[in-house]
């Protein structure tokens, strides 16, 4: 191993790993890696996907927890939290995935502002740095464009800017150029070179799957299957193996077993003459617009049968959209596709039998085994039952899938999954194959094998293959290629022809030449004047820095929320809709009871009794019942829910001083209503008895009058109690779900990497993300209060300031509860449902919503009181109808505040700064 940068004052090694192993479940990502990465140079990790490059970089960046072994970065052993804290401001980490750590709805400047704040920079310093970086990267003309709307190359530049905002001593780049067009890629490396000239002490560690790129690095470590198989300068690796290119060197370095039998280079035998007749694929002026955006513009080409046609271009240039139009998945806005001379229509089922399609991402059913996948597709492609089994067996054989036929696709290596996809795409022996980046992420050996299969199909069976790729060496294996950029085809022709036409040495350079001619002048940029770079760092006090970092998250969260209509709607309109529906939907008012009388007596007494019932507003009188069968029928349909049957002889018995019977039929289907209806009816019968007694002049003397008095809610209206209680439920549910999602979203989209790799602390992150939701929930509270007061007409008798203050504490607690849930959940869906399920039971059943807390059994009472809802419910109900103020509610306020702090404390403990 050499130190190409020569002896400098800095330590010779920027990162030292010894005996590092890392496991994901049963899978070894790294096994006993010992490696010293030289400082002050550009160091590369090379190898295909899934060999442990990313894990190694994440360990060095301190965003993953070390499982075994030791790692020293910048001369510090990062096993200790203090060392990681010291290192954080000096290290920059750009995770894998194009712009994954950026916020797509924030603009270029806002994204950079966010990163500047994370490093505690003041506004003036931040602005100066951002201007300089934008200028240097050529992004200066687009400061106000949302990051999500940038092209791949621009996203990658923005990611780089955000990594460089704090002058790191160590820059860690995980596959920074994957999926970017060759021109952007070249510009990116030029930019890095310039930066390194300005800051010779800065060390860079890069992981890449492109072997060509690795040629420009000072030092390399080749990785395979969790182990470093060689390290040294590119020349050293090449001379060690005697290979001409790094890619060949890499294959030579692989252990014998992984290399497989050496089949020599992939060669494309010449095609035998152009077949006569209609071309296999003919695209005429294909155009696709999504709203204002033109994804594909006027694309035309003609492909003869049996040709391998390569389709090159960067991510997002319109390749996939074009291919979807050619398969009939998308209808073109303009233009048409003809397959063997016949026009393709989306609804045309027959033409689909002639096409095999393989989409970019793995897209077979993970829940079916390899064989089940094949059988399902054989059936859907209408392969006759008698041929089906034979065909499946044939395909298993051809694509060497026999051994894995009963496995689930999920667990298989990428290379085998790609073969399976190809097997599925060809099961019906199509004459045209459309393959969308089938080999991305596959290691070189598997890729070569894959290409041999394609060539065999093309040459032996005359299958026309339309394949998109971003690997230049794959493009060279095609009969003809086309170069696509920004929705347009720039070049079509045989690879050698294009190279000759552009007057370059390689296909890659020819592609770059095409792109350069196309690129708008404003984007070319990179005047690379970085004289201001590395300007004096101002260092504000620790407290100011901490507040700045916290604010960085609050501010970003607020912007994102405002720009996400669905979440905003849920946060602001959701509570109102819920209160409206719950206010009307959960009512314990029993009125409009449909009542009918079945009077078989027809005496003045029976009529007097019936009148009692029809006189009160709770009963709605329905037509009289004439026959017993009618009573039965009308109760069965639910037309009447209470019926009074007065038997014959009622009046006579009363006169004779006997006690006559009456029958009261109540619909018991809804027990609560039935109970209440029964209560009403008994009261009415009492009244009837009194009236009768009065009429007869009997005063029994010594009667007891049992009076009832309704406190706090004289009208005994359900809404007066339920609406304040609903506030408790709604302000629990919605804020908790919102805040739970906000944290889990970061995990899902990958922006959590910013939290892991920057100096922001756990409390700063959590409180910062919580603040916007506290504010928005508190606004919700005032809207709910207004709705309760003026829509549901609930009187408000307490102190509105007190309820406002307690509600503020309550939403702090409920948003904190959401964050606590988010620390256990991984996806947004599980966060939503877990929060809903976990919070609904205690709040609905044990917080006094239906059963008063005082009537619960001791266990239930303790359970209820261990959630903030049971403490908020008395405050809300009390402030509305009981006239409560501070003196009544200080204990509730205190308890809710304790809950808020406890949830925050637990979330901080449960939150991991480093990934497992």
């Amino acid at each position: 191993m050499s130190d190409p940068s020569g002896a400098t004052a800095a330590p010779a090694w920027i990162a030292e790993l010894s005996g590092v192993s890392h496991l994901y479940g049963e899978t070894h990502a790294l096994s006993d890696v010992t490696l010293q990465v030289p400082a002050g140079c550009m160091a590369g990790l090379i190898g295909p996907d899934g060999v442990g490059k990313s894990t190694l970089l994440a360990l060095v960046a301190g965003v993953r927890r070390l499982q075994s072994g030791s790692v020293r970065v910048l001369g510090r052993d990062i096993a200790g939290a203090a060392a990681r804290r010291e290192n954080a401001p000096r290290v920059a980490y750009m995770p894998q995935g194009l712009g994954r750590n950026l916020s797509p709805t924030l603009t270029v400047r806002e994204n950079l502002d966010f990163f500047g704040r994370l490093f505690g920079q003041k506004a003036a310093e931040r602005a100066a740095r951002i201007d300089m970086l934008l200028e240097a990267t050529g992004l200066a003309p687009f400061p106000d464009r949302p990051a999500g709307k940038l092209s791949g190359g621009m996203k990658q530049k923005l990611s780089l800017c955000s990594a460089l905002i704090h002058d790191p001593d160590l820059l860690i780049l995980d596959e920074p150029t994957t999926g970017v067009d060759p021109l952007s890629r070249r510009q990116f490396w030029e930019l890095i070179d310039t930066l390194r000239q300005r800051m010779p002490d800065m060390s860079v560690i890069v992981a890449t799957a492109y072997m060509e790129e690795a040629e420009r690095f000072d030092w390399l470590a080749a990785m395979n299957d969790g182990a470093v198989i060689a390290s040294g300068s590119p020349e050293a690796l090449r001379s060690q193996t005697g290979a001409a290119t790094l890619e060949q060197a890499f294959v030579q370095l692989l252990p014998e077993a992984a290399r497989g039998p050496d089949q020599g280079p992939v060669v494309l035998p010449p095609r035998e003459g152009d077949g006569e007749g209609a071309p296999a694929i003919e695209a005429r002026g294909l155009t696709k617009r999504f709203g204002q955006f033109t994804a594909v513009s006027d694309v035309s080409f003609t492909i003869p049968p049996g040709e391998i046609f390569g389709f090159l271009g960067s991510n997002g240039c319109g390749k996939s959209t074009t291919m979807k139009m050619m398969t009939g998945l998308l209808d073109p806005t303009e233009g048409e596709t003809r397959l063997f001379g016949e026009k393709l229509r989306a609804s045309d089922m027959k033409s689909r039998l002639g096409i095999g399609y393989m989409s970019q991402n793995f897209s077979l059913y993970a829940e079916l085994t390899v064989e089940q996948n094949l059988v399902l597709h054989a059936k859907l492609y209408e392969i006759p039952a008698e041929r089906r089994a034979a065909r499946v067996a044939e395909v298993l054989e051809e694509f060497e899938l026999g051994e894995v036929a009963q496995s689930m696709p999920e667990g298989l290596p990428l290379g085998i999954r790609q073969r399976l996809q190809l097997a599925v795409a060809t099961i019906h022996e199509p004459r045209i194959l459309i393959l969308d980046e089938p080999t991305s992420g596959v290691d070189p050996v598997a890729r070569d094998g894959f290409w041999r299969m394609l060539i065999r199909m093309s040459r032996e069976r005359g299958v026309t293959i339309f394949i998109s790729t971003h690997f230049m060496n794959e493009a060279e294996r095609c009969d003809r290629i086309s170069l696509m950029h920004a929705g347009r085809v720039l070049e079509v022709g045989a690879p050698a022809e294009i190279v000759a036409r552009r007057g370059t040495d390689t296909l890659e350079e020819a592609f770059i030449a095409c792109l350069e001619a196309e690129q708008p002048a404003e984007e070319v940029g990179a005047p690379t004047d970085l004289s201001a770079y590395g300007a004096e760092k101002a260092s504000p006090s620790a407290a100011v820095q901490s507040a700045t970092r916290l604010w960085a998250y609050s501010w970003r969260e607020t912007l994102e929320l405002i720009r996400d209509p669905i979440r905003m709607f849920f946060a602001l309109v959701g509570p109102l809709v819920l209160l409206l529906t719950m206010g009307y939907g959960i009512s314990f008012d029993v009125d409009e009871l449909n009542f009918a009388v079945f009077d078989q007596d027809h005496t003045p007494e029976s009529r007097l009794l019936a009148e009692q019932f029809t006189a009160i507003p709770q009963f709605t009188e329905r037509p009289e019942i004439k026959a017993p069968a009618e009573l039965d029928r009308r109760m069965s349909t639910g037309e009447i829910s209470i019926a009074l049957a007065i038997p014959d002889g009622f009046g006579r018995k009363l006169h004779q001083g006997e006690v006559p019977e009456v029958l009261l039929w109540v619909d018991g289907a809804m027990p609560f209503r039935a109970e209440t209806a029964r209560g009403y009816a008994l009261g009415l019968l009492d009244g009837f008895a009194d009236e009768l007694a009065l009429a007869r002049g009997q005063t029994a003397g010594g009667t007891v009058d049992i009076q009832t008095r309704y406190l706090f809610n004289q009208a005994f209206k359900s809404a007066n109690a339920m609406v304040p209680a609903m506030l408790m439920l709604i302000l629990m549910l919605i804020p908790a779900i919102m805040s739970a999602i906000s944290v889990v979203r970061e995990k899902e989209t990958g922006t959590i990497a910013n939290f892991r790799s920057t100096p922001v602390t756990r409390p700063e992150f959590l409180v910062g993300k919580q603040l916007p939701y506290i504010v928005i929930s508190w606004i919700s509270f005032w809207m709910l209060l207004a709705m309760g007061r003026w829509v549901f007409n609930v009187p408000f008798t307490g102190d509105v300031r007190v309820l406002g203050a307690i509600s503020l504490l309550y939403v702090c607690a409920t948003t904190g509860f959401g964050q606590l849930i988010s620390s256990f959940t991984k996806t947004q869906v599980s966060a939503v449902f877990a929060t809903a399920v976990i919070s609904i039971i205690p709040t609905v059943n044990f917080s006094g919503l239906i059963v008063p807390v005082s009537s619960l059994n001791p266990g239930g009472r303790i359970f209820g009181l261990s959630f903030p809802g049971a403490w908020y419910q008395p405050a809300s109900v009390g402030s509305f109808v009981k006239g409560f103020g501070w003196s009544d509610l200080w204990l509730n306020a205190l308890m809710i505040a304790i809950f808020a702090l406890a949830y925050l404390g637990l979330s901080v403990l449960a939150m991991r700064k480093r990934e497992a």
Binding site: T637, P671, S855
Partner: protein
């Protein structure tokens, strides 16, 4: 024919997917067994152990008798407290009812004077206070009757015989168990159907299916069919095994009719789930959209509060947009009242129409959804 075969093949695939999702299976099992049981028992509006207190300013044998008469299972044992304590206690929500016995109560009553007892009700406990108070009145009146005319049969002028149709003892779990079942069917069908579409879109498998000779309606039908079979089978099993057999709730109507109606409901809700899914980009958004929809569909279905108690416009909106009120009416008629097809045909037609409208929109939007 090919179309039907494709639908069936895709349905088998969907069923395998559901079988593969162990968490979802566990959730379905839990919801239709333990949750049905627990919630039916817990969310009860039955009066039991109601917290009450007595303010006894009489301290007579009669006042002691009255205090003793207040006992379980309806009421928790009442403490005897002072008027001041009672006021504070009710303000703090410690007692739902306070019975106040005035001074010289027994003496005045025996002297033939008219006397009065007071029941103070915390009217913020709306679910229990009203019925609790009417029970309390009854308890006190019975005890007083025993005191004033011991041995007498009844001093009532009229003997009232109560007959509760369809639920003789007014057991609230008879009601809540079936409503809980409907709630579970709604939640699970919406989530299962919706997420099956979003999952395919997120994994890119839907594209794959669409380049094959398969039509959008075959995909849509297969999803609804698979979801429907699973949910319908488990809900019907839950009704007859857990609710009828386990909890002892009688089912009055025809099981076949109920199953048919439930099938139509599941299709309607499943189509609605797909419709919602077609308006969202990812599972996160779907989750946010589906939760309010579930709550509204459930609370305003008539299963919690009868439709009659809602304002007319709201009733109209719900009956036009949501299949749930129709299902509740249907289920109550068939399961409790034993109604036949003729009585519930209207509900069935309404649910079927809603399913149809949702399906037409979903199929119409299918390709457009993929383009985004």
């Amino acid at each position: 024919m090919q179309s039907l075969l494709n639908t069936l093949r895709l349905t088998v695939k969907e069923l395998r997917a559901i079988r593969g999702d162990k968490v979802m299976l566990a959730l379905i099992f839990y919801v239709f067994t333990a949750a049905t049981w627990l919630v039916s028992d817990a969310s009860s509006t039955d009066i039991s152990d109601l917290s009450v207190a007595v303010v006894d300013e009489d301290h007579s044998p009669l006042s002691y008798r009255l205090t003793d008469a207040i006992r379980g299972p309806l009421f928790a044992p009442p403490p005897v407290i002072s008027p001041g304590q009672a006021k504070q206690g009710q303000t703090d929500g410690d007692y739902v009812l306070v019975v106040s016995i005035p001074p010289h109560f027994q003496r005045d009553l025996s002297a033939g004077k008219d006397v009065s007892l007071m029941i103070l009700i915390d009217a913020t406990a709306v679910a229990q206070a009203g019925n609790g108070a009417s029970y309390m009145q009854q308890v006190l009146a019975d005890e007083l009757a025993k005191f004033t005319s011991p041995g007498a049969q009844s001093e009532d002028l009229v003997q009232v015989v109560m007959r509760n149709r369809f639920n003789p003892n007014l057991t609230s779990k008879w009601f809540s168990s079936v409503m809980q079942l409907m709630n579970s069917v709604t939640i699970l069908t919406l989530i299962l159907a919706g997420s099956s579409l979003i999952r395919e879109r997120e994994h890119g498998t839907i594209e794959h299916v669409l380049v094959m000779p398969v039509r959008p309606h075959e995909i849509v039908f297969s999803k609804i069919l698979a979801t429907g079979i699973v949910i319908l089978a488990s809900s019907v099993a839950s009704l007859f095994l857990v609710v009828q057999w386990g909890m002892g709730v009688p089912v009055a109507g025809s099981p076949l009719l109920y199953t048919c109606g439930a099938a139509i409901y599941v299709v309607a809700v499943g189509s609605l789930g797909l419709l919602l899914a077609s308006f969202t980009q990812n599972m996160g958004q779907f989750g946010l959209l589906v939760i309010p929809v579930i709550i509204v569909m459930f609370l305003l279905s008539g299963g919690i509060t009868p439709m009659e108690s809602m304002p007319g416009w709201l009733r109209l909106v719900m009956k036009t947009l949501s299949p749930s009120p129709h299902y509740v009416e249907f289920a109550q008629s068939v399961l409790y009242r034993g109604s036949g097809l003729a009585l519930v045909a209207g509900n069935l037609v309404a649910m079927a129409l809603m399913a149809l409208v949702s399906l037409v929109i979903v199929i119409g939007r299918f390709r457009k959804v993929l383009a985004n």
